[in-house]
């Protein structure tokens, strides 16, 4: 780990923490516009977090250290992923410390702790959300890993930086059927893992339809702020991953300050664009019945499988 690499990683972490709530705000604002509502400002999530941080800390009666630890582990695992993933630059990112597979397991770590936190206070809704969340996560994991397999085969490496570099060096490889199928698979997985429609509705107010929200029902005050921030960081990471794995142009390949500045600007623009696209998509779809979700994830699995077969037979 060299000094510029550490600086690059630090910039990425700072950027993601700063941008993540605004990205969520932007998605909510877009949705409000399209639905003809005035909607809150894009910085509203930041204001919410600030407000929550200054409220009292509450611990539910029967919960233990798992409940208290979960928000921190969720945020810590998210931030670890930010350190590993090339968002602004491929040259920093401490990329050698972990590859795409490591990212999958870090994400799963966060999910598992949230699930345990849902069970810990012993409420019916918490258990329900936990059970559903682990179902989705368990079925999303194979699709995710197979999509990674497809991407790694193309680049000859599972390292994120190398995959990004290989696309930069040979942009035509993106237009191959293998890459497009992998993109489709990854997109479905991202929607499922980050709790977006059609898998989970992030703005639902009905507990019976919730997945993510019902796990965190018992959180309040600063703990809730950490959970919210962590979920927003997760969404940002996923969108950043899609952006840079499938359209890496503009990413810095050195740690030169000018390149880093361009990289930062470009990644923010890409995130905003993807956020608007997803928000628009969400206006037009309804939430799926819970027991249709496995079918969606199976479809993603099959797409990823086809992506691998394609990249083997069509190159």
């Amino acid at each position: 780990m060299t000094v510029p690499a550490a600086v690059g990683a630090l910039i990425q972490v700072t950027l993601v923490i700063a941008v993540a709530p605004i990205l969520t705000g932007l998605m909510r604002a877009t949705r409000a516009k399209l639905e003809g509502r005035a909607g809150p400002s894009v910085v509203q999530p930041w204001r919410d977090i600030r407000k929550l941080l200054h409220k009292e800390r509450i611990k539910p009666e029967y919960s233990g250290w798992v409940f208290l630890l979960a928000p921190r582990v969720l945020l810590a695992s998210g931030l670890m992923v930010v350190v590993l993933v090339p968002l602004i630059t491929t040259a920093t990112a401490l990329g050698g410390s972990g590859d795409l597979f490591a990212v999958v397991y870090l994400v799963l770590l966060g999910t598992v702790f949230l699930v345990l936190a849902g069970l810990d206070p012993g409420t019916a809704f918490g258990g329900m959300g936990a059970s559903r969340a682990i179902t989705v996560a368990a079925l999303a994991e194979p699709a995710f890993l197979l999509a990674i397999f497809a991407l790694s085969v193309r680049a000859g490496s599972s390292s994120l930086a190398t995959i990004v570099d290989s696309v930069l060096a040979e942009p035509r490889s993106l237009a191959s059927p293998g890459s497009l199928l992998a993109l489709a698979a990854v997109s479905v997985v991202v929607l499922a893992e980050s709790g977006r429609l059609p898998v989970d509705n992030p703005s639902t107010h009905l507990e019976l339809t919730m997945i993510h929200e019902s796990m965190v029902l018992e959180y309040a005050g600063p703990d809730l702020a950490v959970v919210e921030l962590a979920s927003q960081v997760r969404l940002t990471i996923f969108l950043g991953l899609i952006a840079n794995l499938f359209a890496p142009w503009g990413i810095a390949v050195t740690t030169h300050p000018a390149d880093l500045a361009i990289g930062t600007g470009v990644v923010v623009a890409k995130l905003a664009l993807l956020g608007v696209v997803i928000a628009t998509f969400e206006v037009f779809v309804a939430k799926m019945r819970l027991f249709r979700v496995p079918e969606l994830l199976t479809a993603a699995f099959i797409l990823a499988f086809l992506a691998i077969t394609m990249s083997f037979f069509l190159t």
Partner: protein
């Protein structure tokens, strides 16, 4: 005598003295002596294994006087040493744990006397260097463990049934192993492994395949692979928990050892279909095992099925190694075999830990039913924390050890494609998909085990009254939890010595498959690296730093304890909680076709109106499909056969004399 020889001799002697001590002492003295001497035996075995692995050369012992005709041949090479190390990692903490655990009605002479012998046999099986020695030690291992499984046969009829299943299956497997090795030795100049190794490659291909298939069946039964796993989910739950830990963490590994030793060492590898077969056996075991673990209500049964799953994962790696080696990529094979060996050691650590944790729960509450547990983390903080570590490790989450071996396993499967043949490009994506699904379901299964067993509120009075177990039991669990964390943060030391084990399998090893540069692991083939120390350390650091940052931002540190909110629902009771069954229900529904659960839903209405429900009874039973559809019919046939043969043996002395006469006539006619 070299240091290694002394080590093995000491291990055997300590075990032997432990057995004698168990026979002649009584009460707490017996518990302590057996625990300490078995622990010493395991420690000596582990030390010998480490000596061999760091390059002291193999330990060879030749004892012609012990067995007539053949004599006992021991030769502990680096491959065997990995397995001895895995045994020692579980056996040492399990023995310490046993000191306290056996106080709960298990301090009987027969049980305590068998325990040290079981450990010695586990330590010596990987050192066996001739067919007769291997068979002798293998049988010793099977018999001692059978006695231990049956320890509580007087108290519960399930124990007797489990012991029957275990005894029958392990003897059927013994027959398969016997046939494989005897046929092999018959075609070789001698029965030592040396002789077998020299002739292994020159046998006819049909003989080689015969030996391969039979040894896969025989050793696979011991490893608990599907469909030969049926004994495992019965025997492991019914055995005393420190014995379950040894069986699940150490004994089943020796099945994998047998497959590796016979197929890829003595036979020297074979055609590609061997690898493909092993890989698909592994895939089936992994998926079937984890699905049943997911829906199991009995905590120890869940762990037992998960052992089937993990052995499956290891066989996937072994099979992949075989496929790579047959298609001329020994370096890729090396990555896969490193993944397999590392997972064996890791699995020993976390499965041992989980079984010890389950044992503490059983000792404290008297139940294994997850649906009746809950709230144990508050009542048993050390056991709960240890079980949490084991669960996270088995889910392959950083910073624990399962993460590293699962990463290597996935890496080894993915990397084949660029250098590919059709066989590889078809099997590997399937294997990755299966391994990934297994990983996801394992996360669900162990979130269930820990989440519904230890979190929330107790669902029954005996769990409500549970208290933490004693010091020796805690020591056993904590030391394994530390091992899980240590192997997760710093696997380098182990990976460096695994190189010697790989070199003992020349057909599966080439170049430098996995190297560690500083704290980062690199694999050959497809690039991509991992630094477990950085990821794990970074995670721990961030988890510690986040509250500090919050404090700096002016967030209050104290928490007020308040009633659960539960969406405004007041007066929550434990009956409203999600149980283990309900937690797994969505996934059970998704995998309906495989699990084929049997439901029974009875709704009683109140007398006044059909629209009001008085009571709902929901019962779900999931049976192992292989048991009902394969084994039960076989048992029926065997029983009928036995009953038919009964008229042959009716106790009449005249008839027996007639048999003798006829047999003599036949012999005379044939020998003419």
């Amino acid at each position: 005598m070299s240091a290694g020889t002394w080590g093995l001799a000491f291990a055997a002697a300590a075990g032997g003295i432990g057995t004698i001590a168990a026979l002649v002492t009584v009460g707490p003295t017996r518990r302590w002596l057996v625990g300490i001497l078995s622990g010493l035996s395991a420690a000596a075995g582990g030390a010998t294994a480490i000596l061999v692995l760091v390059g002291h050369g193999p330990v060879t012992v030749h004892l012609p006087q012990i067995l007539p005709l053949a004599g006992v041949e021991l030769n502990l090479d680096a491959l065997g040493a990995v397995f001895v190390l895995a045994v020692a990692i579980v056996a040492l903490p399990a023995s310490i744990y046993g000191i306290g655990y056996t106080a709960h009605g298990l301090n009987r002479r027969s049980v305590q006397a068998m325990y040290p012998l079981f450990i010695v046999s586990l330590l010596l099986v990987p050192a066996a260097a001739s067919v007769s020695t291997l068979l002798l030690l293998w049988e010793a291992m099977a018999l001692t463990s059978l006695v231990l499984v049956a320890a509580e046969h007087r108290d519960r009829s399930e124990v007797r049934e489990a012991a029957w299943w275990y005894g029958s299956m392990s003897h059927l497997s013994m027959i398969a192993i016997l046939m494989a090795l005897v046929v092999f030795a018959g075609h070789a100049p001698g029965e030592t492994f040396e002789a077998l190794r020299m002739s292994g490659r020159h046998l006819s291909s049909s003989t080689r395949s015969f030996v391969f298939v039979l040894s896969l069946v025989g050793f696979g039964t011991k490893a608990g692979v599907v469909p030969l796993h049926v004994w495992l989910p019965r025997a492991h739950p019914e055995a005393p928990s420190h014995v379950s830990a040894l069986m699940s963490g150490a004994m089943v590994n020796l099945g994998i050892y047998g497959v590796l030793r016979v197929t890829w060492d003595l036979l020297g590898g074979g055609p590609i279909w061997w690898g493909i077969t092993v890989l698909f056996v592994g895939v089936t075991s992994a998926l079937f095992g984890i699905l049943h673990a997911l829906v199991a209500r009995d905590l120890k049964r869940l762990l037992a099925y998960s052992t089937s799953e993990n052995m499956g994962l290891i066989l996937v790696a072994v099979g992949a190694a075989g496929i790579y080696s047959s298609s001329g990529n020994p370096m890729l094979a090396g990555v896969a075999i490193t993944a397999a060996l590392l997972h064996i050691v890791n699995h020993a650590a976390f499965k041992g830990l989980l079984f010890l944790g389950a044992g503490s729960v059983v000792a404290a509450t008297g139940t294994r039913d997850l649906d009746r547990m809950g709230g144990l983390l508050a009542r048993m903080p050390v056991t709960g924390a240890a079980f949490a570590v084991g669960s996270l490790a088995i889910m392959a989450l950083p910073p624990f050890n399962g993460f590293v071996s699962e990463w290597l396993l996935l890496k080894s499967l993915v990397q084949g494609l660029p250098a590919s043949s059709v066989a590889i490009s078809v099997t590997m994506p399937i294997a990755v998909g299966a391994v990934a699904l297994t990983g996801g379901l394992a996360a669900a299964a162990f979130a269930k085990a820990f989440g519904t067993g230890f979190l929330a509120r107790p669902r029954s009075p005996q769990v409500e009254a549970a208290a933490e177990v004693g010091g020796t039991m805690q020591t056993g669990m904590v030391s394994l939890a530390v091992a899980c964390l240590g192997l997760g943060l710093a696997p380098f030391a182990l990976l460096d010595v695994l190189r010697r084990a790989g070199a003992a399998l020349p057909s599966l090893w080439g170049g430098e498959p996995v190297r560690s540069v500083g704290v980062t692991l690199h694999t050959g083939g497809l690039t991509g690296s991992l630094s477990p120390l950085f990821i794990g350390g970074g995670l721990i650091l961030l988890v510690v730093l986040i509250p500090v940052v919050l404090r700096l931002l002016g967030v209050a540190g104290r928490r007020r304890v308040a009633e659960n909110w539960g969406s405004g629902r007041s007066l929550q009771t434990a009956r409203m909680e999600y149980t283990a069954t309900s937690f797994a229900e969505p996934l059970q529904r998704v995998f309906d076709d495989v699990l084929r659960p049997e439901f029974d839903l009875a709704v009683t209405h109140t007398a006044e109106s059909r629209y009001y429900v008085e009571a709902v009874r929901y019962r779900v039973g999931i049976v192992d499909g292989f048991e009902t559809h394969v084994y039960r019919p076989l048992i029926r046939v065997a029983k009928r056969w036995g009953e038919m043969s009964r008229w042959v043996q009716n106790g009449s002395i005249h008839r027996y004399l007639a048999y003798l006469f006829v047999a003599l006539l036949i012999v005379l006619l044939v020998s003419q």
